[in-house]
Point group: C2
Chain length 263, copies 2
């Protein structure tokens, strides 16, 4: 069936609980491709033991309605036994790039991401893969996966969608208390300040220190750093393309954000 669909075929992998960030991915695919498909699969492999797999938000009915409205052509929503049948034992790993930052905090996370996306690409056979900039390290990991295994697919990174205060949309924002919700946009503010300071010529260490002072006292910072967009290795000074990346806990909820720097 997939072989007969008009091409180019754009594919948007998701874990459901769709928000405007996902909508912008589907809209970008719709604008570029003749066929647009998406997947909804809450991938157990990318949750480490003790993480929020069970309480990860699910809204299948609401997701379907949104995707129909966006003009999706094809939805793939396998159950876990279809993706990981008994005896499943294969893993796909992009190496060191998946062990730093989010990979250091969440061991095996990017192996789970690479494994499921390799399988989704194999099944869906898209021409274009649409990924959200929001998960910056994931975009680097999946670009590497696509290049290394030779998937005949182009990767598009779609800009992060933010609310009016700058908070990056995320399914996990739903976990924030009202007070945490108010504090959360300071992560974006810190990144924005850091970008400005770097462009003004400040050293990275000084810019990080100053950006930290902008964060809400409610934020427990995991990291704030400047990395190569391609290798995700830390940069000591601004070189493009780069990501300015940050991760912080607000109460029990861990939020990520980043800025994409091209000049």
């Amino acid at each position: 069936m997939l072989a007969q669909m008009p091409r180019p075929h754009g594919f948007v992998p998701t874990m459901g609980a769709l928000h405007a960030g996902h909508s912008s991915l589907v809209a970008a695919a719709r604008a570029e491709c003749k066929t647009v498909s998406a997947s909804i699969f809450v991938n157990p492999l990318q949750f480490a033991p003790g993480e929020d797999l069970e309480k990860y938000p699910r809204d299948f009915e609401g997701d379907i309605a949104k995707l129909e409205e966006l003009g999706l052509d094809l939805l793939f929503s396998p159950d876990t036994a279809e993706m990981y049948p008994p005896g499943f034992s294969t893993s796909v790993d992009v190496g060191e790039m998946g062990n730093t930052y989010e990979g250091a905090v969440r061991p095996t996370h990017f192996r789970g991401v690479a494994t499921v996306v390799a399988k989704l690409l194999t099944i869906m056979q898209p021409d274009v893969l649409f990924l959200g900039q929001k998960d910056a390290q994931q975009t680097a990991v999946l670009r590497r996966l696509v290049r290394d295994l030779g998937f005949p697919v182009e990767v598009r990174i779609v800009p992060t969608v933010r609310d009016s205060e700058g908070l990056a949309l995320s399914s996990r924002n739903a976990y924030l208390t009202p007070q945490e919700r108010e504090a959360a946009p300071t992560l974006y503010a810190a990144l924005t300040a850091m970008r400005l300071l770097l462009h003004q010529g400040m050293t990275k260490d000084a810019a990080v220190a100053q950006a930290k002072s902008i964060l809400s006292p409610l934020a427990q910072l995991d990291y704030l750093d400047l990395v190569s967009a391609k290798t995700f290795e830390p940069l000591s000074a601004l070189q493009v393309p780069a990501f300015l990346i940050g991760a912080a806990r607000f109460g029990k909820t861990r939020l990520l954000d980043n800025l994409w720097i091209t000049k």
Copy 2:
């Protein structure tokens, strides 16, 4: 280009130095498929440090002549930098099944095999993958890979081709001294005897002991065992489908052989 080729498309991955065993793979593909492709790539990832990558036999001109005669439609013979460009860091691993027997003797071997075949399947997009029974554990590893990652490909296992004394054809047979060459068929004889004894109701341990006595004194046995054809786990008694597997060194040359047991 691949998308336009008549289907079904059968694919035969090789490391070159083609012999009659490879020819039977191509012939099996030719008999079943409208398009037949092969690859020649001596995959560095599947050689452990200190193994015979450099001295692995190469005969590109001779290989081309054989493949043309067999009516091959398409040959893929990438250089190493095309398969593994700078910064390549991705690995595909089927887990425990790749760590026993050959995997125990050759750590990382099956990870290298799974990685290169995942990439070859992604690039070549065949409908049918033809593998030689000779590398029994490899067939189990690649069946698992195909199933786990959802490659839309059927796997065919083509029977081992033997010389008149029963020695399984292998590129590595060329390394044997005349004396070792004479001793080498005792590996096949030991497997054949073991099959007979198992069918006669002897226990596995007793059959292994008796089969060992058939081996040439020149053979240094690595293992002789009965395993599940699907999981490659050792079986304590005959259950089908199974492989009877053996590996032994004759001087510096390590040879493998197996029997496929279906009843």
